[in-house]
């Protein structure tokens, strides 16, 4: 058993293990955003590792460049897709986990009017009053 075969088997097993972890995560985690946290990264890295294992197995330039293309494409597109899905889900009002401690967007995003506000209304009023005071 050569060194290349050892590397290939390690990559394949690590990739499959990460994908299995991602699947367990998507089933067990309590809400959508935590599920995305568990799944997107682990599944992407897992399939990238498996494709890298294919590249090591064949040891040829043609397969290597294809594998590189797949890996780069996966690593570029996965965060974009995850971001868009999480954004849409937040606008849709998908409920967060009941133990969620921090929802920083929650006080700034108005779900009824779909508007973002920079600060609370009292803070805005204070800033406005200060500006008017300055003008005088």
């Amino acid at each position: 058993m050569g060194v290349f075969e050892l590397i290939e088997h390690t990559l394949i097993l690590a990739g499959a293990g990460l994908i299995l972890l991602a699947a367990i995560g998507i089933l067990r985690m309590p809400d959508l955003l935590i599920r995305m946290h568990a799944t997107t990264k682990a599944a992407t890295l897992g399939s990238a590792l498996m494709v890298a294992g294919v590249a090591v197995h064949f040891e040829s330039v043609q397969v290597g460049t294809r594998a590189l293309a797949v890996i780069v494409f996966l690593l570029i597109t996965a965060p974009v897709a995850a971001h868009m899905l999480a954004r849409a889900a937040y606008f849709l009002g998908v409920p967060l986990w009941r133990h969620t401690a921090i929802d920083e967007l929650g006080s700034h995003y108005d779900r009824e009017t779909h508007e973002l506000t920079a600060a609370e209304e009292e803070e805005l009023a204070e800033i406005e009053a200060a500006l008017i005071e300055q003008d005088r």
């Binding site: 290939e8 088997h9 394949i12 097993l13 990739g15 499959a16 293990g17 994908i19 299995l20 991602a22 699947a23 367990i24 998507i26 089933l27 959508l32 599920r35 995305m36 799944t39 997107t40 599944a43 992407t44 897992g46 399939s47 498996m50 494709v51 294992g53 294919v54 197995h57 064949f58 040829s60 043609q62 397969v63 294809r66 594998a67 293309a69 797949v70 494409f73 996966l74 597109t77 996965a78 974009v80 897709a81 868009m84 899905l85 999480a86 954004r87 849409a88 889900a89 606008f91 849709l92 009002g93 998908v94 009824e112 009017t113 779909h114």
Partner: protein
């Protein structure tokens, strides 16, 4: 044509991927919301890329990776399209109900 899985490591990896596929389908059925299902579909496509990688090794055909490229492209487009659709339909529903 050679045996699709010929090495213990490949068999183990194949079993792991099959279990992952089953768990992904359970989440696809359970939901509970549409973004959850889209996320499960996205993960199932990633598992499909893993299957293609294993199959490329087992059948000794490197050109199968072209299929993986196409599958990754389709998965990305599908997720982005679903997300855009969800966002637009949410806003349109609010607009219809006169809240926006």
């Amino acid at each position: 044509m050679p045996d699709p899985v010929d090495h213990p490591v490949h068999i183990i990896a194949m079993v792991m991927l099959c279990i992952a596929l089953g768990l992904g389908f359970i989440r696809l059925f359970l939901g509970p919301s549409l973004p959850d299902r889209v996320l499960a579909l996205d993960m199932i496509t990633m598992i499909g890329i893993g299957f293609i990688a294993l199959y490329a090794i087992a059948t000794d055909k490197g050109t199968l990776l072209d299929v993986a490229i196409a599958l990754g492209l389709i998965a990305f487009l599908a997720t982005v399209a679903f997300a855009t659709f969800l966002e637009r339909s949410t806003l349109a529903r609010r607009r219809r109900s006169g809240r926006l």
